[in-house]
């Protein structure tokens, strides 16, 4: 036996000795991944920060803050004060309120972009990796073609055709990121499809669609999860870039990117307004890549089960 002989039977049947340690080790691999992740302090801080962001995005409306769109033209571009902890912008709107509102917009936009990228990239990647042949060749050439274009330029082109707006921008960013998910999905599916258990389900007459969904996808989920975590960071940056250029979120709504744009427009009058949204972008992108790193390390060789 080359496998870990944790429960190998040497005594004759009935092999009842096995039953003893069976229950405690169920889902051992999953809990091992979680345990490793919990030991990674950087990843845990990042996860905590992301959880906080999600909380703010969900419940920000309940905070005792001024209306993010209420203008106070007398107090424009003021620095931090007791009334306005993070100051006001060029219309005298409370920066903290806008930052909280923008958190929601930014996270929803990132989710939207991620969803588009995953829905486009993952199924095709799994299919190409599993089926191979001409399907793989054609899909991979398309993915390579998309990857060879500078991402932001491609997104600009798509938004240019579809018109500005947050949803259009996020669909464009999703298309830009889809080839990355395609590639990760494809290579994961390729290695999983050579596993004996895939051959075994094929020998069982299981249809291809079901093999992909029920066997290839769950066993490829590790690398895809890592990729998703990294991608969220990039997608937030991309959203900020498009919103900075005025192609993403439209006034009076705010995203972190559009707040940076407003701050940048008045940087000669006040240098402060640009800082809070820029810090949020930086911290969030850093948190997602830190979490991605942690996930990758924790999954390690376990990324496809025990």
């Amino acid at each position: 036996m080359t496998e870990t002989p944790t429960t190998e039977v040497v005594t004759p049947a009935p092999e009842s000795t096995l039953a003893a340690d069976g229950t405690t080790t169920t889902r051992r691999s999953r809990s091992r991944v979680m345990r490793r992740l919990r030991r990674n302090r950087g990843a845990m801080i990042a996860a905590g920060f992301i959880a906080l962001l999600i909380l703010v995005a969900a419940l920000g409306g309940l905070l005792p803050l001024p209306d993010p769109n209420k203008q106070d033209l007398v107090n424009r571009l003021s620095g931090p004060s007791g009334d306005h902890w993070l100051g006001t912008d060029s219309f005298g709107r409370d920066t903290l309120s806008r930052l909280v509102a923008a958190t929601r917009v930014t996270l929803l936009a990132a989710t939207e972009g991620l969803l588009v990228a995953v829905v486009l990239g993952v199924p095709l990647g799994l299919l190409a990796g599993y089926v191979g042949g001409a399907t793989d060749a054609i899909l991979s050439r398309i993915a390579d073609g998309l990857l060879s274009l500078p991402g932001l330029v491609l997104a600009l082109a798509i938004v240019g055709v579809a018109g500005p707006g947050l949803t259009n921008a996020m669909v464009a960013i999703g298309i830009v990121f889809a080839p990355r998910f395609y590639r990760v999905g494809r290579s994961a599916a390729q290695s999983v499809s050579h596993e004996t258990y895939i051959e075994a389900v094929r020998a069982d007459g299981v249809p291809t669609s079901r093999i992909l969904l029920r066997h290839i996808l769950p066993n490829s989920s590790g690398p895809l999860l890592v990729q998703a975590s990294f991608a969220v960071g990039f997608i937030i940056t991309a959203e900020a870039s498009l919103s900075f250029l005025g192609l993403g979120v439209q006034v009076p709504d705010a995203s972190w990117g559009s707040m940076v744009r407003e701050g940048f427009a008045h940087v000669h009058e006040s240098t402060f307004a640009i800082i809070p949204p820029a810090v949020m972008i930086t911290l969030t992108v850093f948190a997602f890549s830190q979490l991605g790193d942690g996930l990758r390390d924790a999954l390690g060789r376990d990324s496809r089960g025990s």
Partner: protein, 344 residues
């Protein structure tokens, strides 16, 4: 142990109603860097209903390709069946498309593999994996399929089946995994089981239990088994008939006791003599010199000639047919003049 001699696949007028599976003149070609290479060369096989046919040979002789071809699992990108038929329950499997094959795979013909642990999907519970097959093939509800899974686990003598069904493969030992595979393979009550070296990775005591279980279930279910192995000891224990494979061809076929007692092909003799058990009697372990040549380098004449100590010029002059006599067959032109040593 001695069975009645079965009609041979090589006689086309023979009565084949007794066979579950009849493979006739099966050839498979692979696309390789040496071009199109024939890896199976006119394979004839018959698996008698309710009985076991052992398929033996060295690594690279084509045993596994044969089983994959029967199951319709050849990778279509590299391999294809170039000629021959695979008759199973009135259908030619070689002529079916993927969709039609799926109705047979896992339902009428099941397969178990050498590495049972790796044959189980690590992200599903044991019960789910067994249930999946019956849900697909018999359209059972989730609850009925789960019930069947538990029954099957009990059938393969896994203690505490209801609780074990909820566990994941990594909590099972190698021997237990193989039982689970067997439970899964038999869940849809197939008439043929293809067992590709099912006991090779198990240690000896577990292996013996597994073989005993297999025989018991075979009798209960009237199952025909195509048992692929390179372990002659297992063959003599398990099989009623045996087919010896070498370099893509069947070189000898017959009743198991007959083939081992009185081999009629030098390769079979070589296999028997390379058993450590025979070395105990002889004092020295004999090995067949050389190794199986790669498929693109197979000779025109007898594929075994270059490693055969009985080879004469006539062996190399052209293709050697499978000659049958009295319910057994050999692909050796000198079979009648040689007196080859069997198992004593």
């Amino acid at each position: 142990m001695a069975m009645k001699a079965l009609p041979l696949p090589t006689s086309p007028d023979g009565d084949v109603t007794d066979a579950v599976l009849t493979v006739t003149d099966l050839s498979v070609e692979f696309q390789t860097e040496h071009g199109r290479v024939r890896v199976l060369d006119g394979v004839d096989l018959q698996v008698p209903s309710g009985k076991t046919l052992g398929l033996v040979g060295e690594s690279g002789s084509g045993k596994t390709v044969t089983s994959l071809a029967i199951m319709g699992l050849l990778d279509r990108r590299v391999g294809r069946i170039s000629s021959g038929s695979i008759q199973f329950e009135g259908q030619d499997l070689a002529a079916l498309d993927a969709r039609q094959l799926r109705r047979i795979q896992g339902a009428k013909i099941s397969m178990i593999f050498q590495e049972a642990r790796r044959s189980l999907d690590p992200v599903f519970t044991i019960g789910d994996q067994i249930a999946e097959s019956v849900r697909i093939h018999e359209g059972l509800s989730r609850r009925e399929a789960w019930k069947r899974a538990i029954e099957m686990l009990q059938l393969v003598q896994i203690p505490d089946a209801e609780r074990r069904a909820r566990e994941y493969p990594h909590t099972f030992s190698g021997g237990m995994c193989q039982r689970v595979m067997l439970a899964s393979a038999l869940a849809s009550r197939p008439s043929l089981l293809i067992a590709d070296e099912p006991t090779t990775a198990l240690d000896v005591t577990v292996q013996a239990q597994m073989l005993r279980l297999l025989r018991t279930l075979q009798e209960e279910m009237g199952l025909a088994i195509l048992f692929i192995t390179h372990d002659l000891g297992v063959v003599s224990e398990m099989c009623d008939r045996v087919a010896v494979m070498y370099a893509g061809q069947i070189v000898e076929e017959g009743d198991a006791t007959q083939v081992f007692g009185h081999p009629r092909h030098p390769y079979t003799e070589g296999l028997i003599q390379s058993l450590p058990e025979s070395a105990v009697a002889r004092g020295r372990l004999a090995a067949i010199p050389g190794s199986v040549p790669p498929a693109h380098a197979w000779p025109q004449g007898c594929h075994f000639a270059d490693r055969c100590r009985y080879a004469v010029d006539a062996c190399r002059s052209g293709p050697i047919p499978l000659l049958s006599r009295d319910g057994s067959a050999t692909r050796c032109i000198r079979a009648d003049e040689l007196s080859l040593a069997g198992v004593r």
